[in-house]
């Protein structure tokens, strides 16, 4: 069995070191190695956005990043969005606007939406839909998600 690689990262503000095989995606490392299962696996080929995380301030699909590429990077997952027991305004808005049904896409949508509002605090509906185009939801029809993001924008 070839050697695993030692990877040093900062995940949700804390130093996290882990061992992984070079072929393992960051998604696999987060879920199976580190135990952060909030990030979901959908398509595993970059289309659905369920595994969206922020890496060095930029959202990416964790299925299309190798764990070894995370060396020295700062990563934020859904587990790092709330402040303790206090939900982030985007999380609160998703709840209040019923912007989820089965919930599998929700962590990815929230990480993407938080990144959008950090970049564009008052986005138009078009900007929201365009930014979130890499996140698929098969339940809601998207309208409630768009409304939740608009609602969160007014509260941040």
């Amino acid at each position: 069995m070839p050697a695993k690689t030692y990877v040093r990262t900062i995940i949700n503000g804390e130093h996290v070191d882990f061992l992984c095989e070079p072929r393992q995606s960051l998604l696999e490392c987060l879920r199976d190695v580190i135990g952060l299962t909030g990030t979901k696996e959908g398509c595993n080929d970059g289309n659905c956005g369920a595994c969206t995380v922020s890496m060095d301030g930029r959202i990416v699909t964790a299925c299309l990043v190798l764990g070894v590429e995370a060396e020295g990077k700062e990563i934020t997952t859904i587990e790092g969005i709330a402040k303790g027991s206090q939900l982030h305004p985007v999380q609160q808005a998703f709840l209040e606007n019923a912007a989820l049904q089965c919930g599998i896409c929700t962590p990815g949508f929230i990480v993407s939406s938080v990144a959008l509002l950090e970049k564009i605090p008052q986005p138009s509906e078009h900007q929201i839909r365009f930014w979130l185009a890499n996140n698929l939801c098969r339940c809601t029809g998207y309208d409630k998600i768009v409304r939740a993001v608009q609602d969160a924008a007014t509260k941040m």
């Binding site: 070839p2 690689t5 095989e21 070079p22 072929r23 995606s25 595993n44 080929d45 970059g46 289309n47 956005g49 969206t52 890496m55 930029r58 959202i59 990416v60 699909t61 299925c63 299309l64 990043v65 190798l66 070894v68 590429e69 993407s112 990144a115 959008l116 839909r129 365009f130 930014w131 979130l132 185009a133 890499n134 996140n135």
Partner: protein
């Protein structure tokens, strides 16, 4: 995914040596948005080493010189391109493609160099890069060479890159006065889809006439298709509807599409006509504003 090793060289020389020593079993990786999908789909069974290009300074270069033009490292991700004011101002055609490849997350990783090397017939960045007169700068075991982008793709997912070579950067000549460019594709959705047909073009105007033009098509041939005849035919003609009609008809005639799940031959040829007229009109409008 089968076992692969990972290397992250810090110089062009080191990368070339790694790829050369590995024979055909190594692949360069920039954003990984194509190669990781292909590995996972078992489409690259012989590859057992990924050579990460992102830690090599030359592949991250983004230098805009008013005289020399733009040097764009092959691994620069899309979001850095559309976040660059100098590129936005001088090369709006590059912004068109960088901001529509994949979605926000893909644009955080994917590069125009990678899009080119992946050499899909539908590669969204390639037509406008050809239209802008782009040149690929390649390094390999026997030295450096330059290849005009219209000659880079040689077949479906095949390029001029030889064993041990890497694409280091793309070079685009500085835009001249009254130049404009555009990329436009047709997809059934509004975003996140593969072009049914696409057109990249660049025009230079002279007193309301087209001084020169370059047009290239995507998704309508085994490779992105540079249609030199269009530029030859419309140079010197007024930038009006009649000239655009001629260009559209020539694009329709030049396209060699197949019928597949995304569209029929007839539909794609029709799209080439419409998209060429519309894309040229945007390029002309941009040239007037420049």
């Amino acid at each position: 995914m089968h076992w692969i090793d990972y290397a992250s060289p810090h110089s062009v020389r080191e990368a070339v040596d790694l790829l050369n020593e590995a024979g055909g079993s190594a692949r360069p990786m920039a954003g990984g948005t194509d190669v990781l999908v292909q590995l996972r789909a078992n489409a690259l069974p012989d590859v057992n080493l990924l050579v990460d290009m992102k830690n090599i300074p030359e592949l991250n270069e983004m230098t805009m010189d008013p005289e020399v033009g733009l040097t764009l490292g092959a691994a620069v991700p899309c979001y850095k391109i559309y976040g660059n004011k100098a590129i936005e101002h001088a090369f709006p055609g590059l912004i068109d493609c960088a901001s529509l490849i994949g979605g926000t997350q893909i644009q955080g990783r994917a590069s125009l160099g990678g899009n080119l090397c992946n050499a899909a017939p539908s590669g969204d960045s390639i037509p406008v890069m050809i239209a802008l007169g782009g040149v690929a700068r390649i390094s390999g075991p026997s030295g450096d060479r330059e290849v005009p982008l219209e000659d880079f793709c040689t077949g479906v997912r095949r390029t001029v890159i030889q064993q041990g070579e890497i694409l280091v950067s793309l070079h685009f000549p500085a835009p001249v006065a009254n130049q404009g460019a555009n990329y436009m594709r047709f997809i059934p959705r509004n975003e996140m889809d593969i072009a049914v047909a696409g057109v990249g073009c660049s025009v230079v105007l002279d007193n309301g006439n087209i001084k020169s033009a370059r047009v290239a098509l995507s998704s309508v041939a085994p490779t992105p298709l540079y249609v030199k005849e269009i530029g030859d035919a419309i140079a010197g003609k007024p930038a009006n509807e009649e000239t655009l009609k001629l260009a559209g008809q020539m694009a329709k005639d030049a396209a060699k599409p197949i019928t597949d799940m995304r569209g029929t031959i007839e539909y794609r040829k029709h799209l080439c006509d419409v998209l060429t007229r519309r894309s040229l009109q945007i390029a002309i409008d941009r040239a007037k504003e420049s």
